[in-house]
Symmetry: C2
Subunit: 281 residues, 2 copies
């Protein structure tokens, strides 16, 4: 595995590989790798000749009061994990390499952003779309892999690639969970010990909602209400949002039908967690 820190070197390497007819699988991350990421890398490894993993905590997608500085980082551990997962190139640029000065050109995303996490994170998806536009031009992947845990991100990236005609296939990958159902996340380390136990409530409440829907419940309001009560029973868990929307359009629904997403965000002392379930009715 080669660690590359400059944009120019990354582009030169990739252009060489592409001239050899190699397909390139790309897993963009903010590091502090967990099994969710490793699943993405594994899938990329199976489907491509060359695998590029990027680790870049992107300041542009964090709001001023968000956790950019406290976002967990551990490069040496990430490097060892990437190596053991047979990554070919680990792209690890400094902030100054990606943003040598304030950008004059940025991507603005107008749809699928005023719901879910986008509502409480203004500008977040502009930052995501801008850094991905850069990373896609740097890594020039054949396929790019994203976890379904951030389902809104998958929907936004899908729109970005279609709107800008990137010659890239987006591969959404299923959520990887702990034994108690908690979705794997780099941020889980910021849960207090008792909160780690309570955090299983996110998935538990989603599964209870799924069961109610399978038994015929079709009212979004009733389902949301019942999820809310389940979560409120945990002392440190505070609901940020619970939403039920069409997927991937992310439009509000009066009654449930078609492909829907039940998505939620819950705040604990030092961390805010998200989870979701996509259902075909």
């Amino acid at each position: 595995m080669r660690v590359i820190t400059t944009i120019k070197e990354m582009q030169i390497e990739i252009l060489k590989k592409k001239a050899e007819y190699k397909s390139v699988g790309f897993v963009p991350t903010m590091g502090f790798l967990h099994e969710g990421h490793l699943t993405l890398i594994n899938k990329a490894r199976q489907e491509n000749d060359v695998v590029v993993l990027s680790i870049f905590v992107n300041p542009l997608q964090f709001g001023p009061s968000e956790d950019f500085t406290t976002y967990p980082r551990d490069f040496e551990r990430d490097r060892a994990l990437a190596e053991s997962e047979k990554v070919d190139y680990l792209f690890y640029p400094a902030v100054k390499e990606m943003y040598p000065h304030a950008l004059s050109n940025t991507v603005i995303v107008q749809e699928r952003t005023d719901v879910l996490c986008g509502r409480s994170r203004p500008g977040h998806f502009d930052g995501v779309a801008t850094v991905l536009t850069k990373l896609f031009n740097i890594v020039m992947p054949t396929r790019a892999y994203f976890g379904k845990k951030d389902a809104q991100q998958v929907a936004v990236v899908d729109g970005l690639v279609k709107d800008f005609n990137f010659p890239i296939q987006i591969i959404p990958v299923d959520i990887v969970r702990e034994e108690d159902g908690l979705a794997k996340s780099s941020r889980n380390v910021n849960l207090l010990p008792e909160e780690r136990l309570q955090a299983a409530v996110l998935y538990r409440s989603l599964k209870a909602a799924e069961a109610a829907i399978l038994e015929g419940e079709r009212s979004p309001a009733k389902i949301k209400n019942s999820i809310h009560q389940t979560i409120a029973a945990e002392s440190n868990a505070f609901v940020d949002y619970i939403e039920i929307l069409s997927y991937p359009e992310l439009k509000t629904l009066e009654e449930l039908n078609g492909t829907i997403i039940i998505a939620l965000a819950v705040k604990f002392t030092n961390v805010r967690l998200i989870d979701n379930l996509i259902l075909e009715l």
Copy 2:
């Protein structure tokens, strides 16, 4: 020469060529080709294995009161010219192919846009940057060719490619002029016959300014004033702007030094013309 109208087919063709180690030269245009364009195509032909010419009158870069509908079009003539200039692929998409629906993702350009043409055309360069982001992803050129006549566009494209890390070399090409000095432009056909004669005043006033500078004049105000008087002497010519700025930063100058651009826009009955001179002091 092959005419291609779909994005997908264009991308497939280019990926084939790139897999054969071919370099790709790209000349993006809005059609109604003149010698200025042919110079760009010629340069692309000399420097690349494959030459792609695109013809697309991009609605996104026209303001609501601008000349999108009257912008001159003559595809059959353009096709014949492209063929005779040994273009390999003529990419000629319909508006519906490029914009099947309103884009959710657009590029916003914040610098180098509030001067020259950008000042009187709000959103113009956002539209240029957005369509070029699409075209660059569709054509995946090694080199892209732009005329220096639209010097502000060259400066903005330069910023776009750097900010978004497109693996593309931007090649600015000198202005091609008529015998009386008028810069070649698709819009020149919209000049009334007597205006065609008057239009030589743009270049004449620029050359007079250059002469004054070579003789030691360093006051932007005095030079602009003298250009203004020269143009005002023509009955149908109305100055839209005359600006003297640093290049390519496009910043206002108190006194002339370094690389500067003298740029102007002049309105006639049915058309607005631009021209410029870049000088190293």
